[in-house]
């Protein structure tokens, strides 16, 4: 897990740390975690006005381009504690998101989510609903009339 954190964290200029405030509500802030290889923790400076308390936490890294594409993300679950004015994040589990692991990772991601969707429907006794593809295509064309030429096999 530490190797994955080292590999992927360096690809992002910043991350989002989420913990809980003193009332138990989620509280997030953008930060620049520093790897401490010896202790296998992430060190995070604590700015003013931050209301985090010790306990379970997570770190998210994600990115997209100007056109909301080239999506990449991953999450690390763990815990935080304050030590000498710095938050120590102790990782527990690396959770890959979209764009991690190349094409095989994408296939694994989509196959797993397709299975999860089937399970969701099965547990409720629902049949797999039909998607109104033609209607969706019309909206896509209306939103972007030039960049998206019609696709073959439309309307099934």
């Amino acid at each position: 897990m530490w190797a994955e954190i080292r590999q992927y964290l360096r690809l992002y200029p910043s991350a989002v740390l989420s913990g809980r405030d003193s009332t138990g509500r989620p509280f997030s802030l953008r930060c620049e975690p520093e790897l401490d290889d010896a202790a296998r923790v992430l060190r995070i400076a604590s700015p003013r006005g931050v209301e985090l308390v010790h306990g379970p936490a997570s770190i998210l890294c994600h990115s997209h381009n100007l056109f909301l594409w080239n999506l990449h993300s991953f999450l690390v679950r763990g815990t935080i504690e304050l030590a000498d004015g710095t938050w120590l994040f102790r990782p527990v589990r690396f959770v890959p998101g979209i764009g991690v692991g190349g094409l095989p990772g994408m296939i694994r991601f989509a196959t797993s989510k397709r299975r999860t969707a089937k399970h969701y429907l099965d547990r409720r006794g629902l049949t797999r609903p039909k998607i109104p593809w033609a209607e969706l295509r019309a909206i896509q064309v209306e939103a972007n009339p030039l960049p998206n030429p019609p696709h073959k096999g439309e309307g099934i």
Partner: protein, 190 residues
């Protein structure tokens, strides 16, 4: 006369509407611009063991009610399961990429979410939002571009709606976290 449970639900609904409007009145224009223009936010729900779990989401601000609407696929239902168990959530607006805003504030919204168990595939109810997504993310049309991808990714278009009512909003001018945030509190914070 309404049954007691229905009456309670009605009162909760009215209270949520009143609170939403009071929050909507209080937020400044630069914060509302962030809600309108940011492409993503970092959306946090609480897992069963209490861990705050955060993933990027596409939020839709509805100024007429002072609430956010978003959706998730039934292939990614964990955040909805979390909300049904514990409605406390947060939305952090900290990545202005693509928004066109110059030095926007960083905004944290804490609130309560509702996620009914209804699978939506209809475009009609979300036409405005779907159009906005394809305008901002033109390559997203790829997932429905041929029969194979339509079969493989149909789960992505089976959506569960999430409505978030803010109870507290904090923002840091120009994203400067070294300064103390400004805060707007809702009526039922806590």
């Amino acid at each position: 006369m309404l049954p007691a449970a229905a009456g309670t639900r009605y009162l909760e609904h009215v209270m949520a509407e009143v609170l939403a409007r009071s929050v909507a009145i209080s937020i400044p224009a630069e914060v509302e611009a962030v809600f309108q223009e940011f492409r993503t936010c970092e959306f946090t729900t609480l897992a069963r063991d209490g861990t705050p779990i955060t993933w990027p989401m596409l939020p839709f601000w509805r100024p007429e009610t002072g609430q956010f609407m978003t959706t998730t696929s039934i292939g990614l239902p964990d955040k909805v399961f979390n909300i049904r168990r514990d409605p406390r959530v947060s939305l952090l607006f900290s990545d202005p990429t693509g928004s066109g805003l110059d030095n926007p504030p960083t905004v944290l919204v804490q609130g309560r979410a509702a996620a009914p168990d209804k699978v939506n595939t209809s475009i009609g109810a979300y036409e405005k939002e779907v159009k906005l997504v394809y305008r901002r993310q033109p390559s997203g049309a790829m997932w429905s571009s041929n029969p194979l991808l339509r079969w493989y990714f149909d789960w992505y278009f089976m959506r569960l709606e999430i409505t978030i009512t803010p109870t507290r909003i904090l923002w840091w001018d120009r994203g400067d976290l070294s300064a103390s945030p400004r805060v707007v509190e809702g009526a039922d914070v806590g």
